[in-house]
C-alpha cells in the first residue's frame, strides 16, 4: 500500500517557519536583507560597484523593496566574463565549496559558497522537501548527478538536514536504481524528470509493479517539464511528482518548490527576491502576467547575484495558496527568452555547438540541432552538412570526421549526443538569423 503523501504533513517543520510569515514581516525581512546584500556586493564586487557608480546609485538609495529596480541587472555573461573568481565577494579562506555549470561558450560558470551560504542552501532544501510532505522518516534516493553540478550535493545535504535517510546513488545505471529503490525501501526520489521517465520505461521492461514499491514522492527538476509529464508519471507510478526550481547561479536546487496543491512553485522569498519584467523593455509586469523571472540573492555572501536575468519565462501567482504558505508562487517555467535548452540536466546553447564545430572545421558548417524524445528522455541530435573539404573518399575518412566532431561536442558539453553527417543543402536556409534548433519534443 502506498502511504498517502499528506499523512504526515500536519506538523510544520521548524525550518519552514519563514514560509508562513505575514506579508509585512516578510517584506521587513526582505528589505533588511536587500539593503545588507546591496552594501556587501557594492563593497566587495568590483563589477557591481562599477555599474552602480556608472548609474549614480549607492546602497543608501535602497529604502524600499521597489528600489531594487534601481539596481543593475546581472547577466549570465557577467559570470562567464569574470571566470573563475571575479564575482566572489569574500576572501577565499571563507569559501568552503565551489560548483560549476556550463557557460554559453564552453567555459563553465563557477559559483562559491561560504559556510553560512551552505547553511542557507540546506535550509531552503529542507523547506523544499517539506513542501513535498517529506520528513525525517523518509528514505530519499538522490539520482541527481554528484559533482560540480549543484543538483547532487544540494539535494543530498538538504535531505540530511531534514533528517531523512539519503541514498547517494547519483545518476545512471537504471537497473541498480530500480533494485535499490525496491530493496532499500525508497520513499522519495530526486532526479531530472526525463531520467525518471526513462526509469519508468526501464521498470516496465523489467516487469516491475509500482504498487510493490513504497515510493510516494518524486522531486523533479533541473530541466523544464510539463503538467502532462507530471500526470503521466503520477498515473504510471502512483507517486506524487513535485516540481523543484533552482539554478546554479543563484544557489542550485531549492529556489522554489511545488507544494501539495501542485499549482505553481513557492519561492523561498526571504532568501530569493523575485521580479517579473518584460524581457524587451525591462518594465515590471503585473502579477499574473508572463515575463522574465529576475532573482536577487538576499543572503548569499560568497557570491551575491543581484537582479539575475534567468531568461526563464513565468508569471507570479498572487492568490494565497491553499497549503497555508504565504510566500508567493510562480507558474511552472513555460519557456525561455533565449535559445538555451536543457538536455539531461545540462544547459546547452547553440553557440556551444558552434564553438565545438569550429574546433574541427575551419569555417562553420551548416548545422542544426534537433531535439526529440526517445525512451522517455529528451535527446538531441546535431546534424552537420558534409562539405567538399570534410568529405573523403573512404568510409574510414568520413567516420574520422564524424568522430572528431562528436568528441569536440562531448568535450564542450560534457555529455555525448547523437551526431549525423548530412548532405549539403539539406538543412533549411533561412533569411536572417538561422533557425538552429528544431524542437520535436
Amino acid at each position: 500500500m502506498h502511504t498517502q503523501w499528506n499523512d504526515r504533513e500536519s506538523l510544520i517543520h521548524p525550518a519552514s517557519a519563514p514560509d508562513y510569515l505575514r506579508e509585512e514581516q516578510l517584506h521587513k525581512l526582505q528589505l533588511q536583507r536587500l539593503r545588507a546584500i546591496t552594501k556587501h556586493a557594492y563593497d566587495n564586487q568590483a563589477l557591481f560597484r562599477e555599474r552602480m557608480d556608472a548609474s549614480g546609485v549607492t546602497p543608501d538609495d535602497i529604502r524600499t523593496l521597489d528600489d531594487i529596480r534601481k539596481l543593475p541587472f546581472t547577466q549570465k555573461t557577467d559570470l562567464r566574463d569574470t571566470y573563475p573568481y571575479g564575482l566572489f565577494a569574500v576572501p577565499m579562506n571563507e569559501v568552503v565549496r565551489l560548483h560549476a555549470s556550463s557557460g554559453t561558450t564552453g567555459k563553465p560558470i563557477v559559483v562559491a559558497y561560504t559556510n553560512e551560504d551552505i547553511e542557507v542552501w540546506k535550509e531552503v532544501m529542507v523547506r523544499a522537501y517539506a513542501c513535498a510532505g517529506l520528513d525525517s522518516g523518509d528514505i530519499i534516493q538522490n539520482a541527481y548527478g554528484y559533482g560540480l553540478f549543484t543538483g547532487g550535493l544540494g539535494a543530498h545535504y538538504g535531505a540530511e538536514a531534514l533528517g531523512a535517510t539519503v541514498i547517494p546513488i547519483s545518476g545512471g545505471n537504471s537497473e541498480r536504481q530500480i533494485m535499490v529503490m525496491r530493496d532499500f525501501g525508497t520513499t522519495a526520489i530526486c532526479s531530472t524528470p526525463s531520467y525518471f521517465l526513462h526509469l519508468i520505461e526501464f521498470a516496465e521492461k523489467m516487469g516491475i509493479n509500482w504498487e510493490d514499491f513504497p515510493l510516494r514522492a518524486g522531486i523533479f527538476g533541473a530541466e523544464p517539464w510539463t503538467d502532462e509529464m507530471r500526470d503521466y508519471i503520477e498515473g504510471k507510478t502512483g507517486i506524487k511528482a513535485f516540481d523543484i526550481y533552482g539554478l546554479s547561479e543563484i544557489i542550485g536546487p531549492g529556489v522554489g518548490m511545488a507544494c501539495s496543491e501542485q499549482n505553481g512553485l513557492h519561492i523561498f522569498e526571504d532568501h530569493f527576491m523575485i521580479e517579473i519584467v518584460d524581457p524587451v523593455t525591462d518594465e515590471p509586469m503585473p502579477d499574473g502576467q508572463e515575463g522574465e523571472l529576475i532573482i536577487t540573492t538576499l543572503s548569499k555572501k560568497a557570491m551575491p547575484v543581484m537582479r539575475y536575468r534567468t531568461h526563464d519565462i513565468t508569471s507570479i501567482i498572487a492568490e494565497k495558496c491553499a497549503c497555508g504558505r504565504t510566500i508567493r508562487r510562480i507558474n511552472r517555467i513555460a519557456r525561455r527568452s533565449d535559445d538555451m535548452f536543457i538536455i539531461r540536466g545540462v544547459n546547452i546553447f547553440p553557440s556551444q555547438i558552434e564553438a565545438a564545430l569550429l574546433k574541427v572545421e575551419e569555417t562553420l558548417p551548416h548545422y542544426q540541432i534537433v531535439l526529440y524524445r526517445s525512451g522517455g528522455m529528451d535527446q538531441m541530435e546535431v546534424q552537420v552538412e558534409v562539405t567538399a573539404e570534410t568529405f573523403s573518399d573512404t568510409v574510414r575518412g568520413v567516420e574520422a570526421v564524424h568522430k572528431q566532431l562528436s568528441e569536440a561536442i562531448a568535450h564542450i558539453l560534457g555529455i555525448r549526443v547523437k551526431l549525423t553527417l548530412v548532405e549539403p543543402n539539406t538543412i533549411e536556409r533561412s533569411m536572417g538569423k538561422a533557425k538552429r534548433v528544431i524542437d520535436n519534443r
Binding site: 573523403s392 573512404t394 568510409v395 568520413v398 553527417l421 548532405e423 543543402n425
Partner: protein, 146 residues
C-alpha cells in the same frame, strides 16, 4: 596509369540513389561500373563514368558532395584465382587495399578489378613488373564499348 573515379557522399535515405542516377541519365552520363559502401549512417558511392568532370559538375550543381579520386584498374582473366594473383603481388610489396570492386568486360572473358591501395604509385609499379595489365582510361572504355 591510374583511373579517375567519382566518389559521392550519400545520406541513408530512401530515393537518394535513384535521384543521383536519374541526374546522370538525364545528362547522358554512362556508368561503366558502380560500387556503394554503406555504414549505419551514410554511404559512399563510387562510380566509373564516361565523363568524370562533367558528372562532378552536374552532381555538385544539385547539392551533392562529389570528389574525383583515383583507382587502379587491373585486367585479369575471369577465372578462379584472378584476384588472388593480384593480391599476392601487393602483399609481397607490403601494400594494403583500402577498398576494391570489380566488373566483367562485356566479352565475358576478362574481369577488371578496381583498387584503392594505401600506396597507389608503388602498387602500379609492383603490378606492372609482375606482368599485370593495368588499364588506363582509354583502353578501359574501348573494352566496355565492344
Amino acid at each position: 596509369m591510374k583511373l579517375k573515379q567519382l566518389s559521392v557522399f550519400l545520406e541513408n535515405k530512401p530515393g537518394r540513389l535513384r535521384e543521383l542516377c536519374a541526374l546522370l541519365a538525364d545528362n547522358g552520363i554512362n556508368m561503366i561500373t558502380i560500387s556503394l559502401a554503406d555504414t549505419e549512417q551514410f554511404g559512399i558511392l563510387r562510380l566509373i563514368v564516361s565523363d568524370c568532370e562533367a558528372a562532378k559538375t552536374i552532381l555538385e550543381a544539385k547539392g551533392f558532395v562529389a570528389k574525383i579520386t583515383e583507382v587502379i584498374a587491373v585486367e585479369v582473366n575471369d577465372e578462379p584465382g584472378g584476384l588472388r594473383d593480384v593480391l599476392q603481388v601487393e602483399d609481397a610489396a607490403g601494400i594494403s587495399v583500402e577498398y576494391m570492386y570489380a566488373f566483367t568486360i562485356k566479352s565475358g572473358e576478362n574481369a577488371v578489378l578496381l583498387f584503392r591501395f594505401d600506396d597507389m604509385d608503388k602498387a602500379v609499379v609492383a603490378l606492372k613488373s609482375a606482368g599485370f595489365k593495368v588499364l588506363d582510361r582509354v583502353t578501359l572504355f574501348q573494352h566496355s564499348e565492344n
